[in-house]
Symmetry: C2
Subunit: 272 residues, 2 copies
């Protein structure tokens, strides 16, 4: 999906919501556990219910790999199910390796011929340019590079005080030369909303994928105040647990829809 196509969806749905599809059998409602493929059954109903309110879906690969081959089959069915839904799809896989190996990850997650044909993949920057470049250059496909993550450990290196500029700033400054606003996004955690101004100074127009609203405690308002790009949002705000586990009962899909709608309405009222 191109940037323009994504912006069109954002404007049409008046939403820049991304739903994180992180299935956890211990949190899923009883009623789907007896399905042949409980994870896919759960995801399908969540997708159907939230589709009017979301422009992007982000399965995190860890939650599928934890169930081994079966989990990977559920992931495959999920991405196939998303294909005709006109939504932006992100493999939250946080991959990255030496050049010839990253090229294989690109084949795994961005190839139209592969089992996992996503629009975008999250990539970890630690190994530098040649670990990221192989994911770029495929028309309509994107790298979402980790910059400033939402977890406590982000202080260990990303905002470590003995680097100047800070490491996350360095990552933004160097990596924006590897791609452009049509094929790169950045992960910036909602729990770091006060740093979004600095992020926007370095990458004023790149789309930012923002996790951490919802279960992790970040605020939609603070994120928009500092990160919103006029006319096209420039943000994909992700919520996972707060939407997909809004209810553990048989009404789980309706509850997910209600929570997604609540966020979408907040986005529409104030920003779009």
């Amino acid at each position: 999906m191109t940037r323009q196509e994504l912006v069109n969806q954002i404007q049409r749905k008046k939403s820049f919501l991304c739903v994180g599809l992180d299935p956890d059998m211990t949190k899923m409602p009883e009623c789907v556990k007896h399905e042949e493929d409980p994870i896919f059954a759960f995801n399908r109903r969540i997708i159907d219910a939230t589709l009017p309110y979301a422009v992007a879906y982000k399965p995190n690969s860890a939650f599928y790999e934890a169930y081994g081959i079966k989990g990977m089959v559920s992931l495959q069915k999920t991405i196939q199910y998303l294909h005709d839904k006109n939504v932006f799809t992100i493999a939250d896989a946080k991959r990255g390796d030496i050049g010839n190996t990253s090229a294989r990850y690109a084949e795994a997650f961005l190839s139209p011929q592969g089992d996992f044909d996503f629009d975008a993949i999250t990539v970890a920057p630690y190994m530098g340019s040649d670990s990221v470049s192989p994911f770029l250059g495929i028309p309509g496909k994107w790298v979402v590079l980790l910059a400033l993550t939402s977890n406590p450990g982000s202080a260990d290196f990303q905002t470590w005080e003995n680097a100047s500029p800070l490491l996350y700033q360095r990552v933004l400054e160097v990596s924006r030369q590897w791609g452009n606003e049509e094929n790169m996004m950045y992960v910036v955690g909602a729990t770091k909303a006060e740093m979004l101004k600095e992020v926007r100074r370095i990458v004023p127009k790149h789309f930012l994928l923002v996790p951490g609203v919802g279960a992790q405690g970040g605020s939609l308002e603070d994120v928009c105040k500092n990160g919103f790009v006029e006319g096209e949002a420039g943000l994909l705000i992700n919520a996972s647990r707060s939407i997909i586990y809004a209810s553990k009962g048989e009404d789980f899909a309706e509850a997910a829809a209600a929570e997604a709608q609540r966020m979408q309405q907040q986005m529409a009222a104030y920003y779009l």
Copy 2:
């Protein structure tokens, strides 16, 4: 596998060789391509042939994920085949995510009940302590943390001059407090052999997984000179392409064995 068990294998085989199992259909001999599962057929013959000379095997997950579900099944068969071989197994997966998500990756790659029950997994440090800790604490299981990688892009952040100490030094210094010499190793590229002295100053006894000897041009001699730990090696030197693609003919397994033996003999003669 515990540290002592690994050291026992190193002393018994007089080897600290790790064989990288990175299957690539375009490089594999014709004779295995007609097998029902060519990747597993290839790996099985490579393992059988090199087993006398190697103490560890390291499949890189990218090379399996690139073939989708089929590739993951080949990976599953490969790790199962390695289970009774008394070797140290490393999932070269370079994972890492926020705490509750890293816990799912640990389940995927280190759980005895899972499809991919490895002894160790490579982890990327960018997200800090809570992204690494969930992999620690399982008896006999290891994190192999990226410190100083063998690729050109390592200069972008790992040895970036505006941080003091350098980022890879910071990673070593901080992370050695997260685990210990019984459950953590570090990746240090052979192409950075001159920096091994500095690595050894910070982590004198931790095992180092050293890729980059062979196809990437690193020297076994330089690595040992600066990184060897008396009595127990403290090194796992990985070679992938130079061993597994030593021949593209029907003699591929014999050629792999010969190359593995050549490296093992160099190790035995000078160091063990």
